[in-house]
């Protein structure tokens, strides 16, 4: 237990250096985004901007605002609906197990590990045939379905911790399946909803493959728009960095405000809760 003071200082020094290294990309992103056209030369990359210039933000914002809007219209309903469905599934699979329910659960979980490339071609044909191709509601549907496994897993692991005795007591009082869900499970799962909600919102917001294959132009979510912005050679670095920051801001804000819940979601994603 008795570590020398020198060792302690070294530990802190190392931690500070590592933390600084981790923040380097953020530093570069922030300073570049506030630079004017004259300052974004290659040799001045690490310099702080001489004065704050918002032209990068103005241009990035003008280009990205429709897709930012799309992403909110996509991520919020997808998050709410897949959390609700996941909660119901988790309730059934933890407290109302039936013959074969474990196998069913395992088959469901497989869905969260598959490379989505392996469903993409039929998915596009299917979305076209139900006239939801190239639409935000179509993407919402896709994210709900492929979000079901992880949401179910998280809620199931959460509900396993609620003592079954509580449910049995309620049953004796004549409370049924839905009564127990509403009066016992739901009030106890507020933090579960926060964890799953943050996880889903972040994943849907950050997702790219479905977005780039299922939508074009006006319906594109933010990550596709950002990729197009940075992919075009004529866009300046300050605009790209401002765009990257704007695209990252919603999930970063959620993280800064609710990091405790975010980390719990991170750990819950690894099967054993």
């Amino acid at each position: 237990m008795h570590k020398s003071t020198v060792g302690r200082y070294l530990l802190y020094l190392l931690l500070i250096i590592l933390a600084a290294l981790f923040l380097v990309p953020v530093y570069v992103m922030v300073i570049t985004s506030f630079k004017g056209l004259k300052e974004i030369t290659l040799d001045q990359m690490w310099h702080l901007p001489a004065k704050l210039d918002f032209s990068g933000y103005k241009e990035a914002y003008a280009k990205l605002v429709p897709s930012l809007r799309n992403s909110f219209l996509l991520a919020i309903p997808a998050t709410v609906l897949s959390s609700l469905l996941g909660s119901m599934n988790g309730y059934v699979l933890s407290k109302w197990t039936f013959r074969g329910s474990n196998v069913l659960f395992a088959l469901m979980l497989f869905g969260m590990f598959i490379p989505y490339q392996s469903v993409l071609i039929p998915l596009i044909q299917f979305m076209q045939s139900i006239h939801l191709y190239n639409s935000i509601p179509g993407l919402v549907l896709v994210h709900i379905v492929y979000g079901l496994p992880i949401c179910t897993l998280m809620f199931r692991n959460f509900y396993v911790g609620i003592p079954t005795e509580m449910l049995e007591a309620a049953r004796i009082d004549g409370t049924g399946f839905f009564g127990i869900y509403r009066r016992i499970m739901l009030p106890l799962s507020i933090s579960g909803f926060v964890v799953v909600g943050i996880w889903q919102f972040t994943s849907v917001w950050n997702e790219f493959l479905f977005a780039v294959t299922l939508t074009t132009q006006k319906q594109q979510p933010i990550m596709v728009a950002l990729q197009n912005l940075s992919g075009s050679q004529i866009v300046q670095w300050n605009v790209q960095m401002a765009g990257a920051l704007l695209a990252a801001l919603p999930t970063l804000l959620v993280y800064v405000l609710l990091s405790r819940y975010f980390v719990r979601g991170l750990l819950a994603g690894s099967i054993k809760g």
Binding site: L11, L148, F177, L226, S230, K272
Partner: protein, 305 residues
């Protein structure tokens, strides 16, 4: 106890999800599998079966052979560095330090970012004409690394139609991925370290073990299940990787940073080679399944036992 009508309710409630997964996961996978055996390699849809032709093509293809090499190189680098980094960070954060939550949050925040954002930013940080190279230059380094623009492959052993080895450009992409994911490894290890009981450490201390012996002989073995889970989770991310590489480098010159995910996307949706794209997707699925199915089975066995 339960009435018959009541027993049906739970099943009915999860039925929509089960049907959705059955169609969107298993149905679509079968469909993709079927497409991979057809000659649908133009805009005009075809259902004509041609056996393993697409797979034969892929395994002889320079680009796909490069993809397999790159995936192997990326996977080894990415898993190794992420786990080492995660374990190292977890140990430091776990040494009863001040400002613990600050440091923890700094190391984890890249997890909240999109791979696209990471790709865009790291493209700038590792740009060979500026970025990190400016710092290296001012430190007096003369042979500046070319990062993701390098076409070098070491050791360059000729196998099939490609040069086998570690493409230097892959290191740059792996660095960005390690930056993004090592906070996750840290969080997992931190949870593991916290669950090693103090009694166990104390007992080892009483027996005269040094701190480093305690770490190697007592703590590390306890972390083994976590390391196993990490390897599987990170490996499956690595086999599927697409967005980061697409945003940061694309296929690269001579396909030095190409991966199956990028090839599948480009050949299917830019080149209209649907059957070949389906073939790549099925190979990706097979690789992921070899990893995930035993993991799922063993997780469920453990839970029951």
């Amino acid at each position: 106890m339960l009435q018959k009508s009541e027993r049906a309710i739970p099943v009915l409630m999860i039925l929509p999800s089960v049907i959705a997964i059955a169609i969107f996961v298993y149905g679509f996978i079968s469909w993709t599998g079927y497409v991979s055996f057809t000659d649908w390699n133009t805009l005009v849809k075809s259902t004509h079966l041609v056996g393993f032709d697409n797979y034969k093509f892929l395994f002889q293809d320079f680009r796909f052979q490069s993809d397999l090499r790159n995936t192997l190189a990326f996977t080894v680098l990415f898993i190794g560095l992420t786990m080492l980094c995660g374990l190292f960070l977890a140990r430091m954060v776990d040494s009863k330090i001040k400002g613990e939550s600050f440091f923890r949050n700094v190391f984890i925040f890249p997890m909240a970012l999109s791979f696209i954002v990471t790709g865009v930013v790291w493209q700038w940080v590792l740009n060979p004409t500026t970025g990190v190279n400016l710092v290296l230059k001012s430190l007096g380094v003369t042979h500046l690394p070319k990062w993701f623009t390098s076409t070098e492959i070491v050791p360059k052993i000729h196998i099939g139609s490609i040069d086998f080895g570690l493409p230097i450009a892959v290191i740059a992409v792996a660095l960005a991925a390690v930056w993004q994911m090592s906070g996750f490894a840290m969080a997992m290890y931190l949870a593991g370290l916290r669950s090693v009981s103090d009694d166990l450490r104390e007992a080892a201390r009483v027996d005269g073990a040094t701190e480093s012996q305690i770490f190697r002989k007592v703590i590390l073995p306890q972390l083994k299940p976590i390391s196993m889970s990490l390897i599987i989770i990170l490996a499956h991310i690595s086999l599927k990787i697409f967005d980061l590489i697409y945003a940061m480098t694309g296929p690269g010159a001579m396909f030095v940073t190409d991966v199956p995910g990028v090839y599948m996307f480009e050949t299917t949706f830019r080149g209209n080679h649907y059957a070949q794209g389906a073939g790549i997707a099925m190979i990706m699925l097979l690789l992921v399944s070899v990893l995930i199915v035993p993991y799922l089975v063993s997780s469920f066995r453990k839970e029951r036992g």
